[in-house]
């Protein structure tokens, strides 16, 4: 029984990592701009595809003998390069999708986000066709038997990389002046320029950070489940969005914990109930939590000041 529990715990941590990484992007953008970036799930998809391109390219280089790249280095480079490239996709979404709507009703921005998502999905479809593509196996899977609990090196890697990224983000938001500006924007958007802080730079940076994390999630997901399709971001996006709400507006810690909690609830519900009921029961539980904590775990019951 205990091994069964720990086996599921490992899975929950892995899925929680995906949700948390994506949820952070939702939460940060919502925190500073009071905007639900509904295209964010598709950024996760774009990140996975960019990762596919980078990984394929690097693998080809390595096997052609152009450069000596061990497999783990290919993976590390794939993650870093894809995070970097995907951050520009996020910044473009902010610059051309949301910035012109800064003063428009929030509903306009939400609709725009959904449209951008559809454009990203269909553009992918148009470019690469309707086939699913398989992500190159960058690391050989090794399974460890720890007291009856089977843990793969991939799962360990996924959880460790995710947590490292989250800790890094947390430190960035806590300790740097850009992070300070983000926290200030979440509290009182309009007077931030009076501190000499360029709002647009911080907004773009926030999208870049969120998109980079979503790209990391996309690649880590592809390492575990190496099949990509253009619509893979939709369900992930919505679930991570729920995690962001559950965590509380703009809270890095909240989004992280809620992402993991979501993973746990899903996996453990599936442990007890038939898997067809998994999401129904899991999200009913979350709905119930939100009834009692409508601002989420770390959300404060104030709304950011968006006007003078």
């Amino acid at each position: 029984m205990m091994t069964f529990f720990f086996q599921n715990l490992v899975n929950a941590l892995q899925w929680g990592s995906f949700y948390a990484l994506i949820a952070l992007g939702y939460s940060m953008v919502y925190g500073i701009l009071m905007l639900f970036n509904f295209a964010h799930g598709d950024i996760f998809m774009v990140g996975a595809y960019i990762g596919f391109g980078v990984a394929t390219g690097l693998t080809a280089l390595a096997s052609a003998g152009a450069v000596a790249l061990p497999h783990w280095l290919v993976l590390v480079l794939t993650i870093l390069i894809s995070m970097f490239l995907t951050s520009f996709v996020g910044m473009a979404v902010e610059r051309f999708g949301y910035r012109p709507l800064r003063d428009a009703p929030r509903a306009s921005a939400a609709i725009t986000g959904l449209m951008i998502g559809i454009i990203l999905e269909t553009a992918n479809l148009a470019l690469l066709g309707a086939r699913r593509i398989s992500f190159p196996p960058l690391i050989r899977s090794v399974t460890y038997d720890i007291g009856g609990v089977y843990v793969t090196n991939k799962k360990i890697m996924i959880v460790v990389v995710s947590i490292a990224l989250m800790v890094g983000l947390h430190q960035f938001v806590r300790r740097t002046k850009w992070g300070m500006a983000m926290r200030a924007m979440a509290f009182d958007f309009v007077v931030v320029p009076l501190m000499g802080v360029p709002l647009n730079t911080i907004a773009a940076m926030t999208f870049a950070l969120g998109s980079a994390l979503a790209a990391a999630a996309g690649i880590l997901f592809a390492v575990a489940y190496p099949v990509l399709d253009p619509y893979m971001g939709i369900v992930f996006g919505w679930k991570a969005f729920v995690a962001a709400i559950l965590g509380g507006r703009g809270s890095v810690l909240g989004a992280t914990l809620a992402g993991f909690l979501l993973g746990f609830i899903e996996i453990f519900v599936a442990m007890i109930f038939p898997s067809t009921l998994r999401d129904f029961i899991a999200y009913s539980i979350i709905l119930l939590i939100l009834v009692f904590r409508p601002h989420g775990f770390f959300g404060e019951p104030y709304s950011a000041r968006l006007r003078l």
Partner: protein, 236 residues
């Protein structure tokens, strides 16, 4: 002239808040704009800080530059015009120190920042004691100190002050105006906007009277304090 404003017009939707006002501030001066609630005082300051859009025909020149060519953040970081907004608008989720540090976001002069920080703490020792405290937990007087300190850190050729006396006990008010006089002696020009006309005119060298978006009177503070119209309408 340090700052010259001409024909300043601002509208909110269909409602015109400022009907083409003009005024100047000279280097090192303390100038006040008095007027009733809703006269357009805050809007005037927000227009200078570029927080609200102005209508075509408006002219604002600052040290020979076209102020309208600067976005809000560069008005602070490049032109040195700081703004203590109405209601202070501190970042309550940041500590006192973080509020002060954030105001130096665009500054590169580490030494200057350190000196200015010392200066703020010597003017307002209470802030030094409360450095690590969240700004949201400060008392009203301390919050006003922090709001002024923060503006000082961000830029201080000109300081725009929006109702700094609001919600302060008389003794705190006196302390605050003394601190502002200190800053002014060190070269910061001050544009003060106040409903409390007597207080503002005692503090400022010159004043303007704003009524329904139009400047109706201007002159040295002494003259305005003695003016029968001002006395009747604002000094009661």
């Amino acid at each position: 002239m340090l700052l010259t404003v001409n024909n300043l017009r601002v509208s909110y939707g269909n409602i015109r808040a400022l009907h083409g006002i003009g005024f100047q501030i000279d280097e090192g001066e303390i100038v006040c704009i008095i007027g009733a609630n809703g006269a357009g005082k805050s809007t005037t300051l927000r227009a200078i800080s570029r927080l609200v859009p102005v209508e075509p025909g408006t002219g604002m020149r600052y040290m020979g530059k076209d102020l309208l060519a600067y976005p809000a953040d560069r008005v602070v970081s490049e032109l040195g015009i700081s703004h203590v907004p109405e209601g202070r608008r501190l970042f309550g989720n940041l500590t006192v120190m973080e509020n002060l540090t954030l105001a130096t976001f665009a500054r590169k002069d580490r030494k200057g920042i350190a000196l200015d920080l010392d200066r703020v703490f010597s003017i307002f020792p209470r802030l030094a004691e409360r450095k690590t405290q969240k700004a949201g937990t400060l008392s009203g007087g301390e919050q006003q100190m922090l709001a002024i300190g923060r503006a000082f850190m961000s830029g201080r050729k000109v300081m725009l002050l929006d109702e700094p006396s609001m919600g302060l006990a008389p003794l705190l008010m006196t302390n605050m105006f003394e601190a502002l006089e200190d800053l002014n002696r060190e070269g910061t020009a001050i544009l003060l906007v106040e409903q409390n006309a007597r207080l503002a005119l005692k503090f400022a060298q010159r004043g303007y009277v704003l009524e329904n978006g139009t400047l109706v009177l201007q002159g040295p503070s002494q003259a305005l304090l003695a003016d029968p119209q001002v006395r009747r309408a604002y000094l009661g």
